[in-house]
Subunit: 246 residues, 2 copies
């Protein structure tokens, strides 16, 4: 089968527990100390009839060169990308759109935080920015298995379709007049667009936004990292929802 | 002089503009295309009488092996660490305490966001977690030059000293009962403690906290990345402050 590689004890446990992906096999370093997490991986693999092999650590280093595998690598089926139409018809819920975010750590961190904030889908453009790779999976701490990953050839087309389906489109833009906490997120289905690290959101998408919001800062210094900015906005939506329901 | 290395066009420009650090020299790749940022670096270096040299890209690759130098590396004086006593007497303002955060990217992202949120000092333990290194400097986008970096042998001692000086100590702890937005941050000098990625905050520090707060989540999935969690809490303090002043 076409396959992806995930690594790190937590990421492998997370993927086994989520049950979303097909496992080819799990490789464990012969020199790994037996700990609670390795035991948990073996237990889950046995339950699910998945092969695990003990191999020389050099073999693992070949597959994940930066040595961050923590003694465990799994070969699994790639993340399934979903069609936006399919998502709208069968899943639904709030969405984050990444307009060309280039750093895999940022994409992974945003997906992790989005899942914690109850977001149901992430839209990525097919040809700019990163798609789901091993670093994204690792940084997401397995969150890629708990959210629909939607890939599209045209972000403009995707945003238009969302608007036709009663989504409100929010663009994070540091030139905006309104602050992010001036919106009532709990009252709508929203799609939040976050722009690329340096370029921000492209003009054609900005034009389609129903709301443009900024995060006010207390110093003139530079700007926020895109994953931190996403976290601040998404958890404002959580705060409002929890407060309203209390 | 003892020296540190920073790299990347933005980080070098930021450090030149901040004027906090002594520059030994700036190395620029011979194969760098002349762009606005490289020109800005040369201009600032000329103004400040700093040597810049054009070198083979291989030389840069030796100094920053992962190839993220973007054609520019500067050798500069290390970050100056400050004493807590000195900070309290001469600087003052809100503080973030990192209790053993281990990932350089997280430390850098937290420092960047802290500066944006008007935080004046970061406290790091001397012997656990990371101190300021090249990756922290890069990830902070130069924010290390806009905040006091305080190093201490005893976080417990530091927290006690802060309390004696009328700081309110807030611990981010996912077992807490109160939510992070239930505190009035605008009404006090605070020190926010963020724990290590896996272990959280040590018990001896938790005991000293005046407030323990959690970030409520909309799904049971895992937990937030520590830098995103810090961003959410710090920008709630900004939101409250901006609203109160409006």
């Amino acid at each position: 089968m076409e396959s992806a590689v995930i690594y790190g004890k937590n990421a492998v446990i997370e993927a086994l527990e989520a049950g979303e992906r097909e496992f080819n096999k799990i490789l464990i370093s012969q020199t790994s100390r037996a700990d609670v997490k390795i035991e948990r991986i073996k237990e889950l693999a046995r339950e699910q009839g998945i092969i695990f092999q003990f191999v020389a650590v050099q073999k693992l280093n070949q597959l994940v060169p930066d040595g961050r595998h923590q003694g465990v690598i799994a070969q699994i089926s790639p993340v399934r990308y979903m069609d936006l139409e399919d998502f709208i018809q069968n899943i639904g819920g709030n969405i984050v759109i990444l307009d060309g975010v280039e750093d895999s750590h940022n994409v992974g961190a945003i997906i992790r935080t989005a899942v914690c904030a109850g977001i149901r889908g992430i839209i990525l453009p097919s040809r700019r920015g990163v798609l789901i790779n091993s670093t994204v999976e690792k940084t997401s701490a397995g969150a890629v298995n708990h959210i629909s990953i939607i890939k599209t050839n045209s972000l403009v087309g995707a945003v238009q379709k969302l608007k036709e389906n009663n989504y409100w489109v929010i663009a994070s833009d540091h030139h905006a007049k309104d602050n992010y906490y001036d919106i009532d997120y709990s009252d709508m289905n929203f799609a939040l667009i976050m722009g690329a690290e340096h370029a921000g959101i492209s003009k054609s998408l900005l034009k389609l936004a129903d709301f443009k919001i900024k995060i006010p800062m207390l110093t003139n210094f530079n700007s926020l990292n895109v994953s931190n900015a996403a976290a601040i906005i998404l958890f404002e939506s959580v705060r409002e929802k929890v407060r309203r329901e209390a």
